[in-house]
């Protein structure tokens, strides 16, 4: 019923017969799925569908009860997560920035933890600010002094500061109003053009998935409903649930 494997290696993430329970709830049920490298895949589903779980498995924040997870072409080694995590950028909704650090320190934190050269960092920071259209005068300010959109863009900058091979975005734009969101969408697409990187974007907003992603995975109650290129999913929904999600949505952005 679903097409779970796609071409192109190395994959961004690979799930084989993954089952995960959280308490008495089965978050993922025998899920097998391969997300392609160098593409953006949107994981689309309602809250509680298990879509955030997928991202947390990818980076080793959760461990499957059964099955295996491979990230960036290798099985996740739960005893040595740090080398893997340093190759991944991660941004989540709302509280991604630390309130006790100003914007500059927030964005540069991963680089400093990694002992990177200050000059190299400064150059990278400039580059990202330009890409994300953040003015330089936000740098010395505290997170709470920025608008929601600016905060999320700063969060993206931080996720990108070390030039990750994989970008994990857990509903990073869902707290924003429509206008701000579409602005950020544009900047995200520019970022993807400038620095193509494997991305997994978790969202409950079909329009966002269509705007930003190359591929869509629709998840419901821990099971994959449909997986494929955006056009395929929108034009040939495999069941009523997917059809219902995508009804009224058009306009392939890319």
């Amino acid at each position: 019923m679903t097409e779970n494997t796609l071409q192109q290696a190395p994959s961004a993430a690979e799930f084989r017969n993954v089952t995960l329970r959280r308490g008495t709830v089965t978050a993922l049920d025998d899920l097998t799925l391969t997300l392609p490298g160098r593409k953006t895949t949107a994981v689309l589903g309602a809250s509680g569908s298990g879509k955030s779980t997928l991202i947390q498995l990818t980076i080793g924040l959760l461990r499957p009860d059964r099955g295996t997870v491979s990230t960036l072409g290798a099985a996740v080694d739960y005893d040595k997560l740090r080398p893997l995590r340093k190759r991944i950028g991660y941004a989540i909704q709302d509280i991604c920035l630390y309130p006790h650090l100003d914007i500059r320190d927030n964005i540069l934190l991963p680089a400093r933890l990694d002992g990177r050269d200050e000059q190299e960092c400064a150059a990278r920071l400039d580059e990202l600010l330009t890409l994300m259209q953040l003015p330089e005068d936000v740098l010395p300010r505290w997170p709470h002094e920025l608008s929601g959109g600016q905060q999320q863009r700063a969060g993206l900058c931080r996720a990108m500061i070390l030039r990750p091979e994989l970008l994990l975005l857990d509903e990073p734009f869902s707290g924003l109003d429509t206008m701000t969101r579409s602005g950020i969408h544009d900047q995200f697409l520019q970022l993807q053009d400038a620095e193509p990187v494997s991305s997994i974007l978790v969202t409950h907003d079909p329009q966002e998935a269509i705007n930003l992603a190359d591929f869509i995975v629709v998840i419901r109650e821990g099971r994959v409903q449909q997986h494929g290129p955006v056009d395929d999913v929108v034009s040939n929904p495999v069941n009523e649930y997917v059809d219902h999600l995508c009804t009224g949505l058009t306009g392939i952005a890319r």
Partner: protein, 491 residues
């Protein structure tokens, strides 16, 4: 941070001056006077003195001397044999000194008076009945007699006296303080008192001679240790034999006047004896205040520093485990329920007297507020922050340093602040076990009913509490970014 380090080193350095002589006393008037006389005489000879007066009883005073927390205090031969050495069979000064030497203690030459129990009768009765000795009381069973309750009941008091002298008097009990009034107003003919009580002079009581030598000797002398500066010992020896019973009664009587301070009584005595030329009474106020404050700060700062290291340290180790955190908070809460005086007293058999037990007790009191605020703050940190930290590949140490501690810092500082204020208040009680500090004048003032002395401790302690508040506002300013501070801006 360097400023704080500098401040601490100043505090420590100021106290370290080695050659200071710590003069102590127990908490009753006569002992205060004798200690103050010693202190002023030493000062007049250019020796630095530290007053540690008002120790709570013989046991604590002896322990303090034994641990070198103090250097000298006035003691009585009877107390030494009965309580300190527990060898009542020793009677001669030579024997007592030999026994003390085994504990590296030294008894200087007696001051000249014997403060023992004495039987007193009113002058009128003494003359009418021709009473001069206790033996003379035999056959005078019609006399109205009342003894203080303690004397009435202790075996070396009335029961022994009655048997030794074969007396048939019928005796009532009375409050010690009321006995003199009853004698003065003629309601009573005979009572028991201490032979150096100031009231004996005032009421003109006649003390009957203990002709059978029943009462043990309580000769007063300075008790010290064998490492006391030689020049200090020599200075104190000049006091030997200078205070007889009548003189001591006079000094005690003078001290009964609430408008006369102990320091004034002592200084007047020294001038009368020609031992000191100038009035020394008020000079020591400021140095004493500074020294007490310094010592108080040292007590609280040491205890607090330990409590911060331990409280925050353990909190950081256990906060992830509900059960462990709760157990830790429960135990430190238990400490908090022990009354301060009891906790201080409990420390004595474990670590002796002086600053060490006080610091340990204050440390135990400080753990709870610090640990509780740290653990609560850790638990209150939103999970997302920790998830992002983990996703960045932070180690536990990095997470603690860059995320958890900075986020918890405002609450941790608030906890430390609370602990500091508790410490400063509780540390005033530490004077009871010889730790010194601003409690010294308070304890002395309480014992002598001298409110000026009490204020000399209480006011600086209150100021210290306020300064501590300000200090921690500053610490917060150093360590916490503006929008996360708990203090009001401008304070």
């Amino acid at each position: 941070m360097t400023r704080a380090a500098l401040l601490l080193s100043l505090l420590w350095g100021g106290i370290a001056a080695a050659q200071t002589v710590a003069v102590a006393s127990k908490n009753f008037t006569e002992n205060y006077i004798l200690a103050e006389i010693a202190a002023q005489l030493l000062e007049a000879h250019g020796i630095d003195v530290e007053r540690r007066q008002g120790l709570n009883g013989t046991k604590i005073s002896y322990e303090a001397l034994h641990n070198r927390a103090i250097d000298v205090y006035p003691e009585y031969t009877g107390t030494i044999t009965e309580v300190i050495l527990n060898r009542p069979e020793l009677t001669s000064l030579r024997e007592i000194r030999a026994a003390l030497a085994q504990q590296n203690l030294v008894l200087l030459d007696p001051l000249g008076f014997n403060n023992t129990y004495a039987i007193g009768v009113t002058r009128e009765v003494a003359e009418r009945e021709g009473l001069g000795t206790i033996s003379d009381l035999a056959g005078h069973d019609e006399l109205r007699v009342a003894f203080p309750h303690e004397f009435l009941n202790r075996p070396d008091g009335w029961p022994g006296l009655r048997d030794r002298y074969r007396l048939g008097l019928s005796v009532r009990g009375i409050e010690h303080s009321l006995a003199y009034e009853a004698m003065e107003s003629g309601q009573l003919d005979v009572t028991a008192s201490y032979s150096t009580d100031g009231e004996i002079l005032r009421t003109g009581l006649v003390l009957l001679k203990d002709d059978l030598g029943y009462f043990p000797q309580y000769l007063a002398a300075y008790l010290t240790h064998d490492e006391l500066r030689r020049d200090a010992a020599a200075v104190l020896d000049t006091l030997s034999g200078r205070i007889d019973n009548r003189r001591m009664q006079a000094l005690n009587l003078r001290a009964l006047d609430p408008s006369v301070s102990i320091a004034e009584v002592a200084s007047q005595f020294l001038r009368e004896e020609g031992l000191v030329s100038t009035d020394n009474g008020g000079i020591s106020f400021l140095p004493d205040l500074l020294r007490n404050t310094q010592r108080h700060l040292k007590l609280t700062a040491s205890a607090l520093l330990l409590a911060v290291l331990f409280g925050v340290g353990v909190a950081v180790l256990v906060y992830r485990h509900r059960t462990l955190s709760n157990a830790f908070l429960y135990v430190s809460g238990l400490m908090q329920t022990i009354p301060s005086i009891a906790l201080l007293a409990l420390m004595i058999p474990l670590v002796g007297v002086g600053q060490k037990p006080a610091i340990i007790a204050l440390f135990l009191y400080s753990i709870l507020p610090i640990a509780r605020s740290t653990i609560t703050a850790m638990h209150a940190i939103p999970g997302g922050y920790r998830q992002v930290a983990a996703a960045m590949g932070m180690t536990r140490a990095q997470e603690l340093r860059h995320v958890l501690l900075p986020l918890a810092m405002p609450h941790v500082i608030a906890g430390i602040r609370t602990a500091a204020i508790i410490c400063i208040g509780t540390a005033t009680l530490a004077a009871f076990i010889g730790a010194g500090g601003l409690g010294d004048p308070i304890v002395t003032g309480l014992a002598l009913n001298d409110s000026r002395l009490i204020l000399q401790g209480a006011v600086p302690a209150a100021c210290l509490a306020i300064l501590t508040e300000l200090f921690f506002s500053q610490v917060e300013r150093w360590l916490v970014v503006p929008h996360m501070r708990s203090s009001q801006p401008g304070l």
